[in-house]
Symmetry: C2
Subunit: 338 residues, 2 copies
């Protein structure tokens, strides 16, 4: 019935391929998936062999041509890194295109600049995939919990460190051994610093803080401690005392607010934390993530699921694409069933 | 800046009062809360003394006058029961007004009629509060998980029975004693049948099934078994074998689909179920609810929180009001932060 919404993909790695796979196989998914068409895809190496998922899209090694394609209404950035992702996103916004991105490092550092440009241009920049992998947390925080005064957001938002801590706790394996195993399994990078030093979690809590409390969090000012100094015996002692050791990212409202009007009325931090074993976050094992939101009048609500991986992250990216595609058809979408 | 969105409340019981309390105190909540105004409120007894929350709204004992008020754009039905709720909602839809309702019994039985009327009239009927109390589950199912082929939805969606089963498991108290206690605490009704016989959970899984799988579930055809025949020793034996006994409501896709084209390709049921103690649903205790959604490519994602109560339910109702109010202002809402 309606004209299809043209999508341009920047990147065709694991997440990009996952997004393509969903969009090219609409059966049994949200009816709006049928209304989305991938127009152009930017890849690094055109000569690389690929699966035959992409039937009608043009491949290019020039990402700018994706952004500039007049048939592309939504630019999906799944290439990662700060540049050229930032420049490409700003260019898309200037051209009046909406953007979907999974790039937490970029949003944590340049989110305000990007949001300001998007508001000025009257387009959307949606970032569900930037935090918690497939777990719906960004949209629920913005919308479903909008009636609440949020007091605290805390969670396990780095799957790699949670995998390591879970195995240290459950099997008593030393940190370095588990890290090696995580690298073999592809759960950890060759250079694991972003994960094990807590930097990735700090990126994500900066984003969640901005959404939950509306303030602007300076990424560089978040006290961040990773798990590199933890030993198996620390984890073991904690367990015997009734606690799990989890790398928690926390942002909470300070009450009363600080006198100094330059300080944000928030305490934000990333650090290994003792969590009582009967606490909902204690049972979150392996590469799973969970985010606990505390607000008034809702009390505590928790979102749990796969914090990374091609499928889950692609699920979140597609949710944002559908959200943008659905804005012209909100009615149909809202009354879908029952 | 913008004209306020006029809301009419049908009912001012615990949920209605909770909604009023949020809307009259917008500080630190979503900025859109400022743009919403309660115009008229229908109550059963005008002479009853009330708190002074409602500053600018008219009280009436004629619910029809709320629906007919030209300043009311959104009708919020929190009176419960099938009639007159159904007639009032249909009247609001005919008048071109959007509706927010927490009425699971009504939606489970007349959801299709209501959705059809809403689509024809071009208005919204939102039902976040009908399942899982404050837990965002309806909007995430409709939107955030839209890229997935949903295979199974299962959960603990009745707080009363979960409270009873939790106390039976943790303290070995007999069923009838815990039920009496639950009634004293207000967790269970004087006539507890809707909860303990599983009828309430069946209403809710009918709604979730419709959303997840798009089909039309006949409420009366859902096999439903409650917890009245469970004894403490059943719960205790299960625990010793490594299981929790939970009243689960389950809806799953049958694969392959049944040959008979008149049968829905779904298996839906409510019954006490043995859940392995390391399963995410096993740790959901007390009056909390949790809904586990399994889909492709996301895997498993779980939504956990308070399944009932004035504050959580009001939070969900307000989320829907904000959703409707925000449709004219989607852009501002989406780019709120960062």
């Amino acid at each position: 019935m309606s004209k299809k919404v043209g999508v341009g993909l920047l990147g065709l790695g694991t997440v990009g391929s996952g997004v393509a796979s969903i969009l090219e196989n609409p059966e049994n998914r949200h009816p709006l998936v049928n209304d989305i068409q991938i127009i152009q895809v930017a890849v690094r190496d055109l000569s690389r062999k690929r699966s035959s998922e992409l039937t009608n899209a043009t491949l290019t090694d020039n990402p700018q041509s994706v952004v500039d394609d007049p048939k592309v209404a939504v630019v999906v950035e799944v290439m990662g890194g700060i540049e050229p992702a930032r420049t490409l996103i700003m260019r898309a916004i200037s051209a009046g295109k909406s953007v979907v991105t999974a790039n937490k490092a970029l949003i944590a550092r340049h989110g305000e600049e990007i949001a300001t440009a998007a508001n000025a241009a009257g387009v959307y920049v949606l970032i569900e995939a930037a935090v918690g992998g497939g777990i719906p947390i960004i949209e629920p925080l913005k919308q479903s919990l909008g009636g609440n005064k949020i007091n605290k957001v805390s969670g396990i938002i780095n799957g790699t460190t949670n995998y390591i801590l879970s195995r240290m706790a459950n099997e008593g394996v030393p940190y370095t051994d588990v890290l090696t195993k995580a690298q073999e399994l592809g759960y950890a990078e060759a250079d694991p610093a972003a994960d094990v030093e807590g930097f990735d979690a700090a990126d994500k809590i900066a984003i969640l803080s901005g959404l939950a409390f509306g303030g602007s969090i300076k990424r560089s000012e978040i006290p961040t401690q990773g798990i590199t100094k933890l030993q198996s015996r620390d984890v073991d002692f904690a367990k015997r005392l009734g606690y799990a050791v989890k790398l928690l990212a926390i942002s909470e409202r300070l009450d009363p607010s600080p006198q100094d009007s330059n300080s944000l009325p928030l305490a934000v931090r990333v650090k290994p934390t003792l969590v009582p074993l009967n606490h909902p976050l204690a049972g979150v094992d392996g590469v799973n993530n969970a985010i606990l939101v505390e607000g008034d009048p809702i009390g505590q609500v928790m979102f749990y699921g796969p914090g990374a991986g091609a499928g889950p992250t692609a699920s979140a990216v597609v949710a944002d694409i559908l959200n943008i595609a659905g804005i012209g058809q909100t009615q149909k979408k809202h009354n879908r069933k029952p």
